[in-house]
């Protein structure tokens, strides 16, 4: 019984399946849109619970555990609460933009996921259906373009609230996102150079046939990871809403469902950024060490299995986001700017030159993409990452929380403390 089901799932489709007709394409796209939207929204709801559970676990607390089994219905309770709450409008707010801003934050967060392939193609009786909502040939550029629009929601929320803390949050956000967008774009140039195309499916195929870009392009991965955290406004880059300085930053004047929309937008941005990290650097839906999942003949079982692998990889990065949140403290504004412009940007530029040169040399030596190609890139990146962290950085950026204090600096700090009127008599 079970076995027959498995066999049914592995039913191999004709590899030469005809391309789908327009009507099938439209229906399939609508179904995919509904599925992706539903999964994203339910996922975001569960992520808010996961965030609270994980932060509780990291801080040795229980976390929400009153609504439903182990607090599993907490997101539903929060949702009902947010819908029932009163919507407040500040008198001095500029109403049209105040109302529009949450939607402007929410929509780009939903749009970006459209081009990310989440499983191998699905064979149907009507033809082969790609498991991506919109398989655009410009794939990756679309994501960069739409992601760059996400800042409008935050900036306009900050400005239209007519509140100085909100405005500061909005201003910080626009400066931060424009700065890190550049590093993000430049770090992916290396990925595009290796893949030779911007279509995300081609990038996945290249990684499946050589080596995951995490090993082949480690430095690009590190830059992209940092920039992705900055672009999603997550700690240690949550300066637009820094509680201790700006109370709640850009969404301070928002209540009820409008506030909730900012929240949903932030979490969907996290999901998209994680999916993008997985697609660009961890092989997307590729199952490691095998190639059978990347080749025709396609089957339903293959689609489900690759989809599962994709989900596991994305969930790891979502966990990583939360893990980092409770590990690193927030940057100071000048640290943020200097990291973006004086560290990430030059490193990304130099890295492009090195990778482009290496690819040229490999091409001249006649080494085709394959295991050896991946090995050479991997070793090169190991060396480059070592140079970057051990020699150029030497513990300055990697540990911003506990930057090294020189002996005489420490003495000066202690002297300051003993002179202070607050110092306890007799010192410590």
């Amino acid at each position: 019984m079970t076995w027959s089901l498995v066999l049914g799932l592995l039913q191999v489709a004709d590899p030469q399946a005809p391309p789908v007709s327009t009507s099938v394409f439209v229906i399939a796209t609508v179904i995919k849109m509904i599925i992706v939207f539903t999964v994203l929204m339910v996922g975001v709801a569960l992520l808010t619970l996961a965030e609270r559970k994980i932060s509780a676990w990291i801080q040795d607390r229980h976390g929400p555990n009153r609504v439903g089994w182990h607090g599993l219905l907490q997101p539903a309770a929060d949702g009902v609460k947010n819908i029932m709450k009163e919507e407040t409008y500040p008198d001095a707010a500029y109403k049209p933009l105040f109302i529009m801003a949450p939607a402007l934050a929410f929509i780009p967060a939903m749009l970006t996921f459209a081009v990310i392939p989440f499983a191998s193609p699905l064979p149907t009786s009507k033809g082969l259906i790609e498991m991506v909502v919109a398989p655009l040939p410009i794939g990756f550029l679309y994501i960069l373009a739409i992601a760059s629009l996400g800042v409008y929601g935050i900036v306009l929320a900050g400005w239209s609230s007519n509140n100085k803390y909100s405005l500061l949050g909005g201003l910080r956000s626009s400066a931060q996102m424009v700065s890190y967008e550049i590093s993000m774009g430049l770090s992916t140039v290396a990925v595009l150079l290796v893949a030779g195309n911007v279509a995300l499916n081609d990038i996945i195929w290249q990684q499946a046939t050589t080596v995951w870009n995490f090993f082949g392009l480690t430095v690009a991965f590190i830059i992209f990871l940092i920039a992705a955290f900055a672009e999603t406004n997550r700690l240690p880059f949550d300066l637009p809403e820094a509680e201790s300085e700006l109370i709640a930053g850009y969404h301070m004047e928002y209540s009820a469902m409008k506030f909730s929309l900012f929240f949903i937008a932030e979490y969907s941005n996290m999901v998209t950024a994680s999916a993008l990290l997985v697609t660009l650097f961890f092989g997307g839906w590729d199952i490691p060490f095998t190639l059978w999942d990347n080749l025709a003949p396609w089957s339903i079982g293959k689609t489900l299995l690759t989809g599962l692998f994709f989900a596991v990889k994305v969930l790891f990065f979502l966990f990583f986001y939360m893990w980092i949140r409770w590990t690193l403290p927030r940057f100071r504004y000048d640290q943020l700017m200097s990291l973006g412009w004086r560290v990430l940007l030059p490193v990304a530029l130099v890295y492009i030159v090195i990778i482009a040169g290496t690819l040229l040399i490999l091409d001249l030596l006649g080494i085709r993409p394959g295991a050896l190609y991946g090995l050479i890139l991997g070793i090169l990146n190991l060396v480059l990452a070592g140079v970057l962290f051990l020699i150029l950085d030497s513990g300055r950026i990697i540990s911003p929380a506990s930057g090294r204090v020189e002996a005489d600096q420490l003495r000066r700090l202690r002297a300051m403390r003993s002179r202070s009127p607050l110092a306890a008599p007799g010192g410590d």
Binding site: Y94, L97, P137, L141, I146, V155, L156, G170, S174, A175
Partner: protein, 171 residues
């Protein structure tokens, strides 16, 4: 599919013109900037409808996503956001000049329209190839390499100039 593209081309064209008019007539600089963003977005849609998807993506990325964000940043930083009575067109002579320039533009449009009875035809739908970027990259880095590099020098000069101006104010 041809009709689909043509219909949307004109639809976005109309929205672009409406947004552009709204951009010029709004009193609040923030509202004006947002209408300009909308115009940029419609232009990107026009490029996509003409099968230039790469240019469309770059249009959104550079103009709507970066340049206009910086515009908004400056408007907010200088607190110019709210509607004011300051306008560019003051006095009879300026109004006359503005009207004349407008007439000149209309005349130009009329001449162009008479010259070429029909609007420029939308290019035939090509088979979408995997490398849409090749079509832009190959001429850019082969035939027009010199122009491309000279542009980069121009940009460098602009950046140096901006840094010099900013530094002078500090010290």
């Amino acid at each position: 599919m041809g009709l689909f593209y043509t219909f949307h081309f004109y639809l976005f064209g109309v929205i672009a013109i409406i947004s552009a008019v709204a951009f010029v007539t709004r009193r609040s600089p923030v509202a004006a900037a947002l209408w300009l963003v909308n115009t940029m977005f419609c232009l990107a849609a026009l490029y996509v409808m003409m099968d230039a998807q790469f240019i469309g993506a770059i249009q959104v990325l550079v103009y709507a996503g970066a340049i206009m964000v910086v515009f908004l940043f400056v408007v907010m930083l200088l607190n110019l956001g709210h509607a004011s009575d300051v306008t560019d067109i003051v006095g009879g002579k300026t109004k006359l000049a503005a009207g004349l320039v407008g007439l000149l533009l209309l005349a130009e449009v009329f001449v162009l329209w008479k010259d070429d009875g029909a609007p420029a035809p939308v290019p035939a739908q090509q088979e979408l190839e995997p490398g849409v970027i090749d079509q832009v990259a190959a001429p850019l880095f082969r035939e027009y390499l010199l122009a491309f590099e000279i542009t980069s020098v121009l940009l460098l000069a602009a950046i140096v100039g901006a840094v010099v101006l900013a530094k002078r104010r500090v010290t």
